[in-house]
C-alpha cells in the first residue's frame, strides 16, 4: 500500500480541485505542470497512478503518454487521460498513445474518485 499519484495538469485551479479530491481519499499527490517535468518526476519517483491532462502547453498529452510508457518504473501503472468533450476522437488517440483510460472534463466530484480508482489494482489503492 502506498498510493502515490502523479497529476500532470497546467491549470492551477484544476490541479487544486484534483489534489483536493485525491488527498481527501488518502492519495499522495505529486504535481507536474507540463510534459518534461512529468517525465522527470516519473523517472525519479514511484507511482501507482498517473492522471494526465491532454491539453498541455508545449508537448501535448499524447506525446507525454508515449514517453511515459517508455519508463520501466511505470510498467503496469495506469495512465488516465483527462479529456474534455471538445476533443472527440482524442479519446481513441489517448488509448493509442498508451493511456489506460480516460475521464471527462469537467470533473464531476460525485463520480471522479470512483472512476479514477477503478483503473488501479485494489491492493495498491490507499
Amino acid at each position: 500500500m502506498s498510493g502515490n499519484v502523479l497529476v500532470v495538469e497546467d491549470n492551477e485551479q484544476n490541479l487544486y480541485l484534483v489534489r483536493f479530491l485525491l488527498e481527501g481519499a488518502g492519495w499522495h499527490v505529486v504535481a507536474a505542470p507540463d510534459g518534461p517535468r512529468a517525465l522527470e518526476e516519473a523517472r525519479s519517483g514511484r507511482f501507482e497512478l498517473v492522471l494526465l491532462d491532454i491539453q498541455l502547453p508545449g508537448m501535448d498529452g499524447h506525446a507525454v503518454a508515449r514517453e511515459l510508457r517508455r519508463i520501466p518504473a511505470l510498467d503496469g501503472v495506469p495512465i488516465v487521460a483527462v479529456t474534455s468533450y471538445a476533443m472527440l476522437g482524442d479519446r481513441e488517440r489517448c488509448l493509442e498513445a498508451g493511456c489506460t483510460g480516460y475521464v471527462e472534463k469537467p470533473i464531476n466530484p460525485d463520480t471522479f474518485l470512483d472512476e479514477v480508482v477503478s483503473y488501479v489494482r485494489p491492493e495498491v489503492r490507499p
Partner: protein, 450 residues
Amino acid sequence: MTEPSTPPPEGSAKVAARGTASPGLTETGQLRILTAREIEAARSETARTQEALKESEARFRTLFESSPDGIFITDPETLEILDCNTQACEMNGYSREELVGRSINVLHPEEVRAQTKGGPEGRARFVEQLRQRGVITIESVHVRKDGTAFPMETSMCLLELGGRDVVMGIDRDISERRRAEEELARHREHLEELVASRTAELAVERDRAEAADRLKSAFLATMSHELRTPLNSIIGFTGVLLKGLGGPLTEEQSRQLGMVKSSAQHLLALINDVLDLSKIEAGQLRVSSAPFALTEAVEGCLRALAPAAERKGLSLVAEVDPAIGTVRSDRRRVEQVLLNLVSNAVKFTETGSVTVSAVREGPWVVTRVRDTGIGISAEDLPNLFRPFQQLESGLTRRFEGTGLGLSICRRLAEMLQGEITVESAPGAGSTFSFRLPAGEAPADIGTEGR
C-alpha cells in the same frame, strides 16, 4: 492551238478514220470513191465541227479570263507555264509575257521549290495522283515579282490539251483567310490566357479560404479549451462544496451553490453546442461510419433520460423492431441526435408518455420520438430547426436549453446522409422522425463533413 485548226486533207484517211459513219468509208471500213455531193457534205460537217470547237474555245477563254482566281496551265513534266489568265498575272505582279514559257517555280520560294524537285519520277507520280483523284487542293506560298510573298490555295486538275496532259491550277489568294485564322488563334490564345489567369486567381482565393478555414479551426480549438478550463474548476469546486467536502453548508448556501452549478452546466452546454455548430458550419466536424446496433443506442439514450422522465411522472417507452439489426453510421453522433430529441420530448411533455420507435422503411431506418406534450404551432414549425429559436419564441424561461439542439440535430442528420422531420399540432404532441440510410452507406462518409 490544236489539231482541228489545220484544214483536213480532202477525203483523207485521217478524217475517214474518225468514225464508221464517215463519208469516205463503207460500212465494213473499205475505201470508196465519194461523190461531189458527198465531199461537199463532209466539208460542211467539218466546218460545223470547227465552228463548235471555236465556240467552245471562246467560251473557255471567257471563263478563263473572267475568273476571279488566277489560273495557270502548266506542263507537268517541265513545269513550264503554257498559259495563264489576267488574274494570275495581277496576283503575282508579272505580265503574261514574263510568265508564259518560264517554269512555275519562278513563283515559288526556295522551300517550296525544294519540294517540287521530286524529278521526273516525282512529277509523273503527281500526274498519276491527279488522274486518280481528279482534283488536288494544296496550300502554298507564291512570291510576287516585287519579292513579297502571299499564301495561296491552289486546286489542280488534269486537262487534255492537244493530245497531252497539262495541269490546270486555280490559285486563290488566302491572305484574308489566314489573317482571320490568325486573328481567331490570337483570340483563342487570349481566351486561354484569360482562363489561366482566372484559374490562378481562383487558386489564390481558394488558398486564402483554406487558410481562413485553418485559422477558424485553430480558433475553435483554442476557444473550446480556453472557455472550458475555467468552467471545469467552477463546476468542479461547486460540486465539491455541495458535497460538503469543503465543510458543512447552511441550507441557503446549498441552494445558492445549486444555482451556480446549474448555471455553469447551462453555460457549458451552450459552449458545447456553439462549438459544435461552428464546427459544422466550418466543415470541421468529422463523422465516422461503422456498423452498430441501433437498439443499443436507443436503450442507452432511454437509460440516460429515465431519471428525468421519472421525476415528471412520464412513461418512457421503446418500440424497436428487432429486425433492424445493425446500422452503418457514426454511433456517437446518432446517440447525440437521439439524446437531444428524447430530452426535448421529456422537457416539453407534462403528462403522458414519450415513445421511441425504430423501423425499416424502404431505403431508411426511421427512429421516431413521439410525445404527448404541448405540441408546436403551425407558424413555429418552419423555424423549429433554426438556431436559438426557443429564445425567440417566448418559451425561454419556461424551458431551459440552449436553443441550438434541433439545428445541430438537423445538421448532424444531414452529415449522416439522413434527415429529421417533424409532425405536430398544439396540444396534440409531436413526432420527430430521424431517418438514416438503411443500406451500406458510402465508404467515404467518414472524411470531411462537406
